[in-house]
Symmetry: C2
Subunit: 377 residues, 2 copies
């Protein structure tokens, strides 16, 4: 190779897109502590603490609560390939990009997909879900996104999971953007399978997906007729390593040791602040951002009742083209070191997504964002 390569020194950014969010120095320091073996007794102790901290963050007593060693997309796939077999009927509620990804998972498993569609930017309609469940009495799973990262819309997870249970379905919930950023109660809401990501409101480095499964979900997994199609994501095998009731941890794959140091620290930050306090902080900073954006004449995409405080999807200023919006984001990045997110899919070139997630949800960041937008618009 002829190229000249040197160490990569990243610029310092303020990350107010749809994730990754700013990672605090405290978490980066934890990340960089010396690597130990994945079977080291001290590391096994760390795994137990991570499990308990995740149970707190998810508000669950689920024994099967652990971090999958890969990003949120793999957490999604873990839920789908373990709970669904070829030929099963699965209802997926889609109101954005990530519901579409759920549907793609169902198809690749060879299951029958029942798609319940709502407009992007709207929450999932419980009425439409109930209609679909009535029309498909053989459905065994209902899946939806709690906090649609592509639109900033929050759906009513408690109501949707309750409907799923009424019709004898397990529920799979995407909480990639909601965990620690807005109210989420796995046990109270009757969620059977949930997955999230580390790079949103936990403000940890990207690459890990916390998941949790109810006892009903475990029973379903144990009763499978066919093996899980993915060896890497087979919970029967992963469990043998994460099961803290077993004296002997069976090796499955080498855990991402340093990323788990960082996850532990970021979960500890959430616990120290208190989950409800974290939700309240996200809400308060969202309201400040809202005032600032409105003073610039910028409107929200989502109705007030369903807005995610951690992910503010807003319409472009009147008359702005896709090229112009890319230029604005480029100037924010280059002149202000500020990253905000573009639209995805049908919203590309039509909206911005301004994240106030985890460590990045601060009054200072709200002010920085409004002032920078004011400068470049």
């Amino acid at each position: 190779m002829n190229m000249q390569v040197s160490s990569f020194i990243p610029p310092v950014r303020t990350l107010m897109g749809p994730g990754p969010s700013d990672v605090s120095d405290r978490v980066l320091q934890a990340l960089a502590r010396p690597t130990v073996g994945h079977l080291d007794p001290t590391f096994i102790g760390l795994m137990d603490e991570i499990k308990q901290l995740l149970q707190y963050s998810f508000q669950t007593q689920n024994a099967l609560t652990l971090p999958v060693s890969a990003p949120g997309s793999a957490g999604m796939e873990t839920a789908f390939v373990n709970l669904i077999e070829p030929g099963d009927t699965v209802v997926v509620c889609q109101n954005g990009v990530f519901g579409g990804r759920m549907a793609e998972n169902v198809k690749r498993i060879g299951a029958k997909l029942v798609l319940v569609e709502d407009d992007w930017g709207q929450p999932v309609s419980p009425q439409k879900l109930e209609d679909a469940l009535k029309a498909n009495p053989d459905a065994s799973v209902v899946a939806f996104v709690h906090a649609e990262t592509s639109t900033g819309a929050r759906s009513d997870a408690a109501t949707l999971c309750n409907l799923a249970a009424q019709y004898d379905c397990l529920s799979i919930v995407d909480a990639v953007t909601s965990l620690a950023g807005s109210e989420l109660r796995v046990d109270d809401w009757g969620i059977d399978a949930i997955y999230s990501g580390t790079q949103k409101c936990l403000s940890c480095v990207p690459g890990i997906s916390p998941v949790s499964f109810s006892d009903k979900a475990i029973t379903r997994i144990r009763a499978r007729k066919m093996p899980v199609q993915s060896w890497f994501l087979d919970l029967n095998l992963v469990l043998a390593y994460w099961d803290d009731t077993s004296a002997k941890r069976a090796y499955h794959h080498t855990a991402p040791v340093n990323s788990l140091y960082a996850l532990h620290e970021s979960l500890l930050v959430v616990k120290e602040e208190g989950l409800e306090n974290s939700w309240a902080r996200h809400k308060a900073n969202h309201l400040k951002l809202k005032d600032g954006l409105e003073s610039l004449g910028i409107e929200f995409l989502v109705d007030e009742d369903y807005r995610l405080p951690q992910l503010n999807a807003v319409k472009l200023p009147a008359g702005m083209t896709a090229d112009q919006e890319a230029t604005v984001r480029g100037r924010l990045l280059n002149e202000h070191g500020l990253e905000i997110g573009a639209g995805l899919g049908p919203f590309a070139g039509k909206i911005w997504r301004i994240g106030l997630m985890g460590h990045a949800s601060s009054e200072a960041n709200v002010e920085k964002c409004i002032s920078a937008l004011n400068d470049v618009l």
Copy 2:
């Protein structure tokens, strides 16, 4: 939760097991640099450099060369689910734990498995492979492990890949433990699909799997009749993000940004040393370790011709029981801060695996290991 949790401060270990290996301060510092977005222009530049550095480390010009955002097991699954369809016939050569995992992948895809077995500790037999290929003219893929991490045996990858090509099969090669630790030439040897891990001879943090695919392999993937069963590992989708010939990088999943900083730095270390120099260093330190172990009366499991310098599998001292060997490893860890590896599967309680991988392959570590073993035996 009632538990008291505080920040995790890991002990400082010398990692001479089968991986993870010691991560240098230089790589840990790179890991902890501030997180940027996965679509940041500077990060896209980093991705291009990682690709070129991986091409150098693999000794390949393959355009499809990238790090999978998950551990080596996921790299294995990436190769299998992309190159194999249900109903295909696949020859897997098994001479240890990881060949068995390959077979498991084939079964879960719904392909026909032809297993070629060799004794654990022996290399894969080219004659047995050729017999199997003659007996199964419909075979489309041959898979084997170049460096069996469970036994320390090296197989002759060039000969095996040549046989695969003669019989119109693509080759899938597990190089988790070999990459950067012993000779490996993807293009010269005609390897069609290869995967490795970051936590062995690259001495990077665990959690990422470098992979590379030949043009023949890409043609096979493009000609698939069925979609890849894994959305997360579908190379058609992953490529849209990693394709450096495309001006627009399509979002697939959020890249593990900080782990890729570390991978970049660890690959840079390899390039600075020079690949051949790295192979020679692993060999020289292996020979020193061999002298020391033999002076303690400890024998190798694998014949000299097939020994991996980076992973030294040795028999327990005569008469030592499984309980006693666990005690020895515990004392090495607790009294000397030294981790060596236990046996896996049928070798559990029967062998030790002493790694001299990457940054951990040093004269000082050889001396530390021999002196610590001498103390506790």
